[in-house]
C-alpha cells in the first residue's frame, strides 16, 4: 500500500482507471440511466454535456459512488468501486459536488485540510505529506494569500477554487466535478476552467459535468453527450459536435465555426429548431 499519490498519477497506466459497465441508476422508481458504458480516458479532461434532466449529474454521482447503481458497476482500476473500502477509494478519486456549503466562519485552510482526511487516521493526524499536500494545493489553486480567510468572505470564484483546492489536497489521480462553474460569472468561470486544465496537465484524469457546451468544447479533451440517460455521442469535441447532435440534444439549429485561436467548435446563429422534425 502506498500513501504517495504521485506514484498513482504516472501516465504509464494503460488501462482506463475509471469506467462504468452496464450502469443503471434510478431515483426511486424512475430509471434515469440504463445500461450505460463509459470509460474515462486517462490524463484527459472529459466533459459530460446534455440537456437538463438527461442524467449527467446522476452519472457523475454514480461514478463517485454517492448513489448505488441499480445494476451494472463502476470499475476503479478494474475493480467494483463499491467492494473497496471507501477511504481507499477516496485516496484515488476526489469529488466536488454541485452543492458545496461549509459552516460559517470556516477558513480556506480548514477546508483544504479536510482533503487530507482519507490519508490520516487517529494516531496520525498530521504528517509531513499532509503539510506538503496542503501547501501544494494552496499554490496550485492560487489560494496561498487567502488561506486564513473565512470562506463566506470570498467571491464565488475564489470559494470554488478553495473547494477545488480541497480536492487537490486529496492527491487523487482522478477528479470528478459537478458543474464546477455554475453560478459563476465569465471571469470566474475562466479562472476555474484554467485551473482544471492545469490539473489535467499535471496528469490528473478529470471528468466534469458542464452546462455550457461552448466551455465544454473549449476546455475538454473528450466530450460525452447524453440524452435521456443514454450517451448519444462521445469523442473529441471537434469531431462530436455537429449541427445534428445539437438539434437532437437541445432542439436548436446553429452553424458551427472553428475557433481561429483554439480550434474548438464555436456555435453561431443559434435558433430554436422548428417543431417538425
Amino acid at each position: 500500500m502506498t500513501d504517495n499519490a504521485f506514484a498513482d498519477i504516472s501516465p504509464e497506466t494503460k488501462v482506463d482507471r475509471l469506467a462504468a459497465t452496464e450502469l443503471a441508476m434510478a431515483h426511486g422508481h424512475h430509471r434515469v440511466i440504463d445500461a450505460l458504458n463509459l470509460s474515462l480516458p486517462n490524463g484527459k479532461v472529459t466533459a459530460i454535456v446534455g440537456p437538463n434532466g438527461c442524467g449527467k449529474s446522476t452519472l457523475l454521482n454514480g461514478l463517485a459512488r454517492i448513489h448505488r447503481p441499480r445494476a451494472g458497476a463502476v470499475l476503479l482500476d478494474g475493480r467494483d468501486i463499491l467492494t473497496r473500502p471507501s477511504r481507499e477509494v477516496a485516496r484515488k478519486l476526489a469529488l466536488l459536488p454541485q452543492e458545496t456549503s461549509a459552516p460559517e466562519g470556516m477558513t480556506v485552510l480548514d477546508l483544504i485540510r479536510f482533503g487530507r482526511q482519507p490519508h490520516q487516521d487517529w494516531l496520525r493526524q498530521w504528517s509531513p505529506e499532509d503539510q506538503a499536500a496542503v501547501q501544494q494545493a494552496l499554490e496550485a489553486a492560487d489560494m496561498a494569500e487567502l488561506a486564513d480567510r473565512a470562506l463566506d468572505t470570498l467571491s464565488g470564484g475564489q470559494r470554488q477554487r478553495a473547494w477545488i483546492a480541497m480536492s487537490i489536497a486529496q492527491q487523487t489521480p482522478l477528479l470528478l466535478l459537478d458543474e464546477p462553474t455554475s453560478a459563476l460569472d465569465l471571469g470566474h468561470q475562466v479562472e476555474v476552467f484554467e485551473l482544471i486544465r492545469n490539473l489535467a496537465g499535471a496528469g490528473k484524469t478529470i471528468a466534469m459535468v458542464v452546462h455550457d457546451l461552448v466551455s465544454a468544447c473549449r476546455y475538454a479533451d473528450y466530450l460525452v453527450a447524453m440524452k435521456e440517460g443514454e450517451i448519444v455521442a462521445e469523442g473529441r469535441p471537434a469531431e462530436v459536435v455537429t449541427p445534428e447532435l445539437l438539434r437532437s440534444l437541445y432542439h436548436i439549429t446553429c452553424e458551427l465555426m472553428e475557433d481561429p485561436i483554439t480550434g474548438a467548435p464555436l456555435l453561431v446563429n443559434i435558433q430554436r429548431a422548428p417543431e417538425s422534425r
Binding site: 506514484a7 471507501s86 459552516p103 466562519g105 485540510r113
Partner: protein
C-alpha cells in the same frame, strides 16, 4: 516509489496554525505518530473545567444552611464538623453529581443531534425524545403493570421516539425539517400520554410521578444516577471514535462520501449515543428542557468555526444544570423551584432569539 522531495521533509513538520502537535513514539518510515490538539478548544475546555469546579463548590456551599468554602473543602476531604459532612456528603454532593451528569448528558446528546441533523433546532427535547422517555418512565412509576426500572423504561421511550421520528420522516432520514416536525408531533403525543396517565391514577401516585413531568433533581434515584454515569463512561469513547467523522457531517453528504466517510453510519452512531444519554438523563432528572439546545450553542460560539465541540458542550451543559439547580434551590428558599422550570425560564428567551435571528451560525 516515493518522491524524494516528500520523504526528506518527514524530519520537520509544523502543525497547522491553531493546533498543538503531540508526537507519539511510532514505527514506520520515519513518520512518527502524532495527535493534533485544537489550541482554542483545549484552552476553552480547561477554562470550562475550572468554571465547573467553581460552580460545583458554590453549589455545595449554598442552600438552607450556608457553609463557608473552607467547611465545604474540609467536608469533601472527609474532615470537619458532622453537620457539614452530612449536608455535603449525603445531601448536596450526590445532587451535584446528578446535576453534572444530567447536564453533560443532555448537552452532549444535543450537540450530537444538532450536528448529525445539520440543524440547531434538532435537539432531543424538541424531537420529542425527552417527552417519550418521560411518558415511558411515568408509566412505570404510576404502576401500569409494567415493573421495569424507570431508567430502562426511559431508555426504551427515547429509543421508540427516535425510531418513530426516523421511520416516519421517510427517505430524508435525519436531514431536513421533516425529522424535526415529525419529532414535534411525537413529543406532543408523548406529553399528552403522560398527562393522561397522571390524571387517571390516585393522587399519591400522581404526586410521586410529578417531578418526572417538570424536570427536577429533588427526587432522584441513586441507582439511576449510577446508570447514567455508566452511560456517560460508555458514550465518551464512542464520541472520540465518531469525532473525526463528525466534523465532515458539517459539509454536504456528497463531500463527506468523497472524503471516504460514511455519513449514514456516522449519523447512526451519533443517534445511538444521543438516545442513550437522553434516555438515561431523563431517568434521573426528568425532561429538563433547553440544556441540550443552549449548551452546544455556547460551546460553538466559544470555539473556532468548523469544530464540533463535544467536550465543551458537555461541560457547559453541566455548568448550566448546576447553576439552574442552585438557582432553583435558593431563589425562593425554603421553597424549591424544579430545575426544569428554571432552565425553561432562562432558556426560552434564548430559543426565541435563535428563531428570530438571521439563520446563520455554524449550522443552518
Amino acid at each position: 516509489m516515493r518522491s524524494p522531495m516528500l520523504f526528506n521533509r518527514s524530519a520537520s513538520c509544523t502543525p497547522p496554525p491553531g493546533y498543538w502537535q503531540c508526537l507519539l513514539p511510532g514505527k514506520g518510515e520515519g513518520l512518527g505518530r502524532n495527535l493534533l490538539f485544537n489550541r482554542r478548544a483545549t484552552l476553552v475546555n480547561l477554562a470550562l473545567m475550572f468554571g465547573l469546579a467553581l460552580c460545583g463548590i458554590t453549589s455545595l456551599s449554598l442552600g438552607t444552611v450556608n457553609l463557608e468554602i473552607q467547611q465545604v473543602l474540609q467536608a469533601l476531604m472527609g474532615n470537619g464538623d458532622p453537620v457539614s459532612r452530612f449536608v455535603i456528603g449525603e445531601l448536596r454532593l450526590p445532587r451535584l453529581l446528578a446535576a453534572t451528569l444530567t447536564g453533560a448528558g443532555f448537552a452532549l446528546a444535543g450537540c450530537l443531534m444538532q450536528t448529525l441533523a445539520r440543524n440547531r433546532l434538532a435537539t432531543p427535547g424538541i424531537i420529542g425524545i425527552d417527552n417519550a422517555a418521560t411518558a415511558f418512565a411515568v408509566a412505570s412509576v404510576v404502576g401500569t403493570g409494567i415493573s421495569v426500572a424507570p431508567p430502562m423504561m426511559a431508555l426504551a421511550g427515547a429509543a421508540t421516539a427516535t425510531a418513530l421520528a426516523f421511520g416516519l420522516s421517510g427517505a430524508s432520514g435525519t436531514r431536513g425539517y421533516r425529522f424535526i416536525i415529525t419529532g414535534l408531533g411525537i413529543g406532543a403525543i408523548a406529553g399528552a400520554m403522560t398527562q393522561f396517565m397522571l390524571s387517571r391514577v390516585a393522587i399519591d401516585d400522581a404526586n410521586a410521578a410529578y417531578p418526572w413531568t417538570v424536570g427536577s433533581l429533588n427526587a432522584r434515584d441513586p441507582l439511576a444516577t449510577q446508570i447514567l454515569a455508566g452511560g456517560c463512561l460508555l458514550a465518551w469513547p464512542l464520541c472520540l471514535m465518531l469525532a473525526r467523522g463528525l466534523t465532515t457531517l458539517q459539509l454536504p453528504d456528497a463531500v463527506a462520501i468523497g472524503l471516504g466517510r460514511r455519513p449514514g453510519r456516522i449519523r447512526a452512531g451519533c443517534l445511538v449515543v444521543s438516545v442513550l444519554l437522553t434516555g438515561l438523563a431523563v431517568a434521573v432528572a426528568g425532561p429538563v428542557g433547553m440544556v441540550a439546545l443552549i449548551a452546544p450553542e455556547f460551546a460553538r460560539a466559544l470555539n473556532r468555526a468548523g469544530y464540533v465541540p463535544l467536550l465543551a458542550s458537555a461541560l457547559i451543559g453541566a455548568i448550566v444544570m448546576v447553576l439552574a439547580d442552585l438557582a432553583g434551590r435558593v431563589m425562593l428558599s425554603p421553597l424549591e423551584v424544579p430545575v426544569g422550570i428554571v432552565t425553561a425560564l432562562a432558556g426560552s428567551p434564548y430559543l426565541l432569539w435563535i428563531l428570530l435571528k438571521r439563520p446563520s451560525g455554524h449550522l443552518q
